[in-house]
Amino acid sequence: MVKELQKKVRELFEDKKVDMVVGWGKGSVPMSATPLFIKSIDEVDDLIFDETCQNNLAVYFTKDKRKLSKDGKKVGVIVKGCDDRSLVLYSIEKQIKRDDIVIIGVPCDGVIDKNKILRKTNNREVIEYNCDEKKVKVKGRDFELTLDKKDVLSDSCLTCSYPDAQVYDEFIGKARKKVDCKDEFKKVDDFEKLSLDERWNAITEEYSKCIRCYACRNVCPSCYCTKCFVDTNKPQWIGKSPEITDSIIFHLIRNLHVAGRCVECGACARACPVGIDLLLLNKKITKEINQRFDYTAGLDIDEKPVMTTYCENEKQDFIMG
């Protein structure tokens, strides 16, 4: 598959259809890949795609990285299903011109969550890592483990209904349409069954870990305000220290800002250096939006995002009668 991908990218360069391609290369430590900016045909050999390619590359088309796609340059980008949805979102929100970007889809079977593997190894360092369709083999200095791949896949991938790109220019192989995902909201449903206080305690415990490094915000493709509300000081909405209520408010508002725009790539949760389960709240919002408005973000390039539109006769059970 990687060979095919490289071949395709090489062709695109040869046919002058792209000036640059954003993809993934091998990372410097086991179980990691790193974003790669390919500017010439000689660099194509460094391109990889596997279950370690966890970054959402769409993020390089906004924020102060947007320079990458400027100057009439044609930029190719290699995408998983979720990354593609981000690009669709960007087209809808006029962050990119669809015509300036060549979307190259790759078939995705989910990406691994490094932290899940480290939890299995008791935080002992992994030096060698191998993965086939079902199993993940990891080796450290004094241990060897074989894990089921589905146990170490990122949470976002376990509940993914659109593993492959739906809107693309090229696809390596055959793109799947929607796949069935039975327990998409199981975690949310389970959490809802807890009592109010149990929920609050669980949330405060989880979010008290936050160190406010904003890795979640910065890797998030949907978070691209030029000035984030936490960075303003006139007025200064929330404190900058990792005080629990400030942290919770930061995350809630971030969740709400990406409500109906979150493509559930899970990049935030994987980027979190302290391992907060950031997806839970996103998933809850997605559930509400799915059920109430029957909307999924980043699928239809012509549909307005759910929060920027309305129906006159919507259900309004949450409003006092």
């Binding site: 949310v188 959490f191 809802e192 109010l196 206080d197 149990e198 929920r199 609050w200 305690n201 669980a202 949330i203 509300f229 909405w237 929330i238 404190g239 005080e243 209520t245 400030d246 919770i248 408010i249 809630l252 508002i253 969740n255 709400l256 409500a259 109906g260 709240l281 809850k284 919002i285 509400e288 939006i289 109430r292 408005f293 759910v306 929060m307 920027t308 309305y310 129906c311 006159e312 919507e314 309004q316 949450f318 409003i319 006092m320």
Partner: protein, 139 residues
Amino acid sequence: MKDWQPKILAILCNWCSYAGADLAGVSRLQYPPNIRVVRIPCSGRVDPLFIMKAFQTGYDGVLVSGCHPGDCHYLSGNYFARRKFAVLKPLMEFIGVEPDRLQFSWVSAGEGERFSKVVTKVTDDIKKIGPIKKMVKGD
């Protein structure tokens, strides 16, 4: 504890609910004195941040009130607001904040009586839950 009175932030839209509150006042209708009113141009202007900030600074409850659907002075502000609340309300409940602490209502300029009823209900609801403990920033 017996004497505890809840402090409630009422965010009212300028064109309907604020006028409704005014009407309740001039009609000499009685309602609990627990609300502190913030007047805003439209319920669509309500940023969830305002609500969280209110809880963080110790308000026991928040009431947001705007024009009835279809009556918005700016035509569609309250429709967008409704979508926002449709997500916000379950989210706050999801993280464990008592659902009754955050309430929404539509009150028009002519509904002074309805306004007094809404405030009475919200105040009663919050009295039942007691003082806010979650979301409040300590010293």
